[in-house]
């Protein structure tokens, strides 16, 4: 019963078709109940015939357009029959495809201007679907409300939070300077606005609703004028706010089917279809009929027309009235450009015909619905004034002109006009359609070309950068290698000596063999010493070599080349080419002397304190020192050596007695062999102090004269005199002098100390302990 009443209500407002679709939605059994019980009551109230609702099969049930006019039962039967037939023959197409094919046929039949057509078709299709949907969603649920629970209402009309959030974001973006109250106010307004429209949509006619919406706009306007929140808002900004509010409210409502856009109770949709067909019929109308200055053969003209058409077409996709107005404005701008191509500004006399022509060629989807939507729900003030309003008025005029187009309005013969109208739509206007199609293709081609161009530029850029990267890496490589070379050339020898540490023994052997020969000739003790340790060997040999240098220069020199060659060989092995050059250039003798000086001096500095007076200790120290010294040459300069020396000296001081016995012998062969032996052996403990004192005195004088700069130096010399040479130094004072003579010039030659100190050969060749003194003198 209640359903029947509701249906009656709808019957007043709804189209027949819509009602049938609604009725189709109802449950079948409910429906039959209602039929049998309320038939007599319901039928007289409906505006359509009962037969319209009945199933095509003639059964008593109601039919539904969704089911091809059958009732649900018959439709199911029909479908199953079809499916069976399909299985049997497999020739018949399934329903949807049939439909599609139908469309395709229609399209091809109509015109080649299929692009716009297709869009329009699709849109009307979706609209139809939406129409069906609206019944299921809104109407049905509203009936439920009446029937069952009023609590269902709130969820039904709930505005998605997305609207609110979107507004908030948009507000922040567009009006960053306005206070938050304004934001809140506008959102509250949109909320109430939507709620109000939703509430009223079902009970009001469209005109009433439109009036109500307009009043809402006015109220918001007044609110802006009176509210304190808007006190500081500029009038222009108020206008923008108005548009903003309208946009957000109507955008949401626009997407709801049949609330504001082609609402129920209007024949907007039908008018859309009629208009579309009408425009198709008039596709033959050309520029000469409308007396507008358009040139089909001009590319710029075609382009502009194409742009205008695409703007006009996109009016349908804009959701808010303001957005639609904007599209119209854009379209008209292009049309004006089209009219004013010959320099003179386009006037209304030109604009209107050109716009009519554009509409005819565009055949925009849902044109009437869109126009009605804007006129009803756009803020009236905006519509009545402003550029958008003006162009929209022109569009309305164009539509109205097309609607009422007659032979007279085209200034042509009635017969001819009728002839044209009778003509199939596909024939007329094909040339313009082709021109526009060309335009579209051209634009597409341009887009493609632009895209290709862009891609090419990107590629070039990429290539360029790749090249740059390669160049960079190359230069980097060069720089690195250069730096490496620089570093290597600066400090080429640092590496070498380390590697040679193990070979020093070898070298020593090589270089010492001649020395040993020499030694053997002069002394017997060198050999046993060599055997004891590697480190001691060189020192002794050094000593030997040095002391004997004066005597046996040719031999030592003969050993030099050997070592040099050795060096080069090593270098090659190590793969350092850079080092090759310096190694031959350096002269081992000159190089090592300064280093030796330092080391010896430092050693001497430290050694004396523990040793004190004993000649044994001094000797032992002397021997121990030499190896350390030697090692220090190669390992590291400076402190390392000192430490070693200290330790060694201490230990040696303790243990020296056992070792001492052979060592003096070892020393003996050195410089003043005979003297040493004589001095050493017998005098060992006692006479040394005397000799020391005497040495000290003598050396002090020396040291003072030579090394006055440093505080340490005097100590050195004092000790030196004390430690090793106490016996030999004395006796060897002469030899020392003699040794200085040959070396002093050599040392003068060697200016750079650091460069040469590392060559082991030099170290091996040059006598360690005696040199410092000699070196100090020149420095």
């Amino acid at each position: 019963m209640s359903i029947g009443i509701i249906l009656c209500q709808y019957g007043k407002d709804c189209q027949d078709q819509e009602l049938t679709s609604l009725s189709g939605k109802l449950e079948r059994n409910k429906y039959t109940d209602y039929l049998y019980s309320d038939q007599h009551f319901l039928m007289p109230l409906l505006r359509f015939e009962q037969s319209d609702l009945k199933c095509k099969n003639g059964c008593d049930y109601f039919g539904n357009p969704q089911w091809q006019g059958y009732c649900s039962k018959c439709h199911r039967e029909q479908m199953s029959r079809q499916r069976r037939a399909e299985k049997a023959s497999s020739a018949t197409l399934p329903k949807p495809e049939q439909k599609k094919a139908d469309h395709g046929l229609k399209l091809t039949a109509r015109s080649s201007f299929s692009k716009f057509e297709e869009k329009r078709q699709r849109q009307s299709e979706t609209l139809k679907k939406a129409n069906l949907l609206k019944f299921t969603v809104f109407k049905k649920s509203s009936t439920d409300d009446h029937d069952h629970t009023p609590e269902k209402r709130p969820p039904e009309f709930k505005i998605p939070s997305m609207v609110n959030d979107g507004m908030k974001q948009d507000f922040r973006a567009r009006f960053p300077n306005l206070p938050p109250q304004v934001d809140r106010d506008s959102r509250v307004f949109v909320h109430t606005f939507i709620m109000d429209v939703m509430k009223c949509a079902s009970v009001m006619t469209v005109d009433e609703l439109s009036e109500r919406v307009q009043r809402q706009y006015q109220r918001f306007m007044k609110h802006m004028d009176t509210s304190q929140h808007f006190a500081n808002v500029e009038p222009d900004t108020k206008e923008q706010l108005m548009d903003f509010v309208e946009k957000h409210a109507m955008t949401y409502l626009h997407d709801l089917p049949s609330i504001v856009f082609s609402p129920i109770g209007t024949d907007d949709e039908r008018a859309d279809r009629a208009m579309s067909e009408r425009i198709q019929q008039l596709s033959w109308v050309g520029e000469r009929h409308l007396e507008c200055k358009l040139d089909r053969n001009s590319a710029s003209c075609r382009q502009l027309l194409y742009k205008a058409i695409s703007e006009l077409l996109s009016m349908d996709s804009a959701a808010s009235p303001g957005g639609k107005l904007r599209q119209v404005r854009r379209c008209c701008r292009h049309v004006l450009a089209l009219c004013g191509r010959d320099g003179a500004p386009a006037s209304a006399d030109d604009l209107l015909p050109a716009l009519i022509f554009t509409v005819l060629k565009a055949n925009p989807p849902r044109l009437v619905s869109n126009i009605n939507f804007v006129t009803r729900f756009c803020n009236a003030q905006r519509l009545m004034t402003g550029e958008g309003g003006y162009y929209f008025t022109n569009l309305c005029c164009a539509v109205s002109f097309i609607e009422n187009l007659t032979a007279e309005s085209l200034n042509m013969d009635k017969k001819e006009f009728d002839c044209y109208m009778a003509m199939p739509a596909s024939i007329g206007g094909s040339s313009w359609a082709a021109a526009l199609l060309l335009c579209g293709v051209e634009r597409e081609a341009n887009e493609q070309r632009a895209a290709a161009q862009k891609a090419r530029e990107q590629l070039q850029d990429l290539q360029h950068r790749a090249d740059r990267l390669a160049a960079d890496s190359h230069s980097f490589e060069e720089q690195i290698s250069k730096k490496v070379q620089d570093v290597l050339s600066k400090t080429p020898l640092e590496i070498k000596p380390r590697r040679e540490l193990p070979r020093i023994g070898k070298l020593r052997e090589i270089s010492s063999t001649p020395l040993i020969d020499l030694d053997t000739s002069t002394s017997e003790d060198t050999r046993p010493l060599q055997d004891v340790t590697d480190s001691r060997q060189p020192s002794q040999s050094n000593g030997n070599a040095f002391i004997q240098d004066s005597q046996v220069e040719p031999q030592t020199q003969s050993s030099k080349p050997v070592t040099a060659t050795e060096d080069t060989e090593k270098l090659n092995i190590l793969g350092f080419e850079v080092i090759d050059k310096p190694s031959p250039t350096k002269s081992p003798q000159t190089i090592d002397q300064p280093w030796d000086l330092k080391q010896t001096s430092s050693l001497e500095l430290l050694t004396p304190s523990p040793l004190g007076y004993t000649p044994f200790d001094s000797r032992s120290i002397d021997e121990l020192m030499t190896p350390d010294e030697f090692g220090a040459d190669h390992l590291a300069p400076g402190l390392g050596n000192i430490n070693y020396d200290i330790d060694l000296s201490d230990f040696s001081g303790d243990n020296s007695i056992a070792e001492d016995a052979p060592k003096p012998e070892a020393k003996d062969p050195f410089s003043p062999d005979v003297l040493k032996k004589q001095m050493f052996d017998p005098f060992a403990p006692q006479p040394q102090p005397e000799s020391l004192n005497s040495i000290l005195e003598k050396f002090d004088e020396f040291s003072l004269t030579y090394t006055g700069n440093k505080t340490l130096d005097p100590f050195e010399i004092v000790h030196r005199g004390a430690d090793p040479f106490s016996p030999p130094g004395f006796t060897g004072s002469l030899p020392q002098n003699s040794s200085r003579d040959p070396f002093s010039p050599v040392q003068n030659e060697s200016t750079s100390i650091l460069d040469h100190n590392e060559s082991p050969t030099a170290a091996s060749l040059l006598p360690s302990p005696l040199q410092p003194q000699s070196s100090e003198k020149p420095s």
Binding site: V188, T192, R215, S347, A348, R376, Q381
Partner: protein, 227 residues
């Protein structure tokens, strides 16, 4: 500063020089060649009269006879009309009479009318005498100016006198302002003047200055009852 917004529609037969008039005026305003995309069909200009500013939106109309039936769309909601005729063409003058009749029948509210006799440079071909035109203009309460778009005579005066008349009309108070018969069911916010009667919203606001959903709902309730 008081600002008045007004919509002005230019009416007249084809060939009387509506567009030239407008183009000449815009051309002076912009002192440049008019961009073809803007066109001469629609433009806005501000004219200061006394200490008020009149913002005028000038709507040009297509003069072709076949678009004659569309004219109501243009002059709807217009505050002023420029009735342009050609002084060398008697038909254009009689067409003005037709326009005036149409305006009177379709627009109930007062409207500033300005009659413009164009092409006054063609004095020797004059078909409409100045006195006749002036008399008719006085009979319909319109200003009358004679202009020459060719020589740029009197055009500025036409717009200034119109602006002054609009200002005068707005000063006479809300009573004299038009409230359009809303055949399409649309009430309008009037371009200038005082607010129209919207008692419901008004009370809603007065009662509850804090703008909230409840308040609005209350206001709506009342108003819907009123309506």
């Amino acid at each position: 500063m008081k600002v008045i917004e007004a919509k002005i529609v230019v009416l007249g037969s084809q060939g009387v020089g509506k567009t030239s008039l407008v183009v000449r005026y815009i051309g002076k305003m912009f002192s440049k060649h008019i961009s073809p995309t803007i066109g001469a069909s629609f433009f806005t200009c501000n004219i200061n009269v006394d200490d008020a500013r009149v913002k005028m939106q000038v709507w040009d109309t297509a003069g072709q006879e076949r678009f004659r039936s569309m004219a109501p769309m243009y002059y709807r909601n217009a505050n002023a009309a420029l009735l342009v005729f050609d002084i060398t063409n008697l038909n254009s003058f009689s067409a003005i009479k037709g326009w005036v009749r149409e305006l009177h029948s379709n627009v109930q509210e007062p409207m500033v009318l300005s009659m413009v006799g164009n092409k006054c440079d063609l004095e020797d071909k004059r078909a409409v005498s100045q006195t006749e035109a002036a008399q008719y203009a006085a009979s319909i309460g319109a200003n009358y100016c004679e202009t020459s778009a060719l020589h740029d005579q009197g055009i500025d005066q036409v717009f200034r006198s119109t602006a002054a008349a609009l200002l005068k009309m707005s000063n006479t108070g809300p009573a004299s302002l038009r409230s359009y018969d809303s055949a399409d069911g649309e009430p309008h916010r009037l371009p200038f003047g005082n607010p129209s009667e919207e008692t419901a919203t008004h009370t809603g606001k007065v009662e509850l200055p804090a703008w909230s959903i409840d308040n609005i709902a209350h206001g709506e309730m009342q108003r819907s009852m009123c309506c």
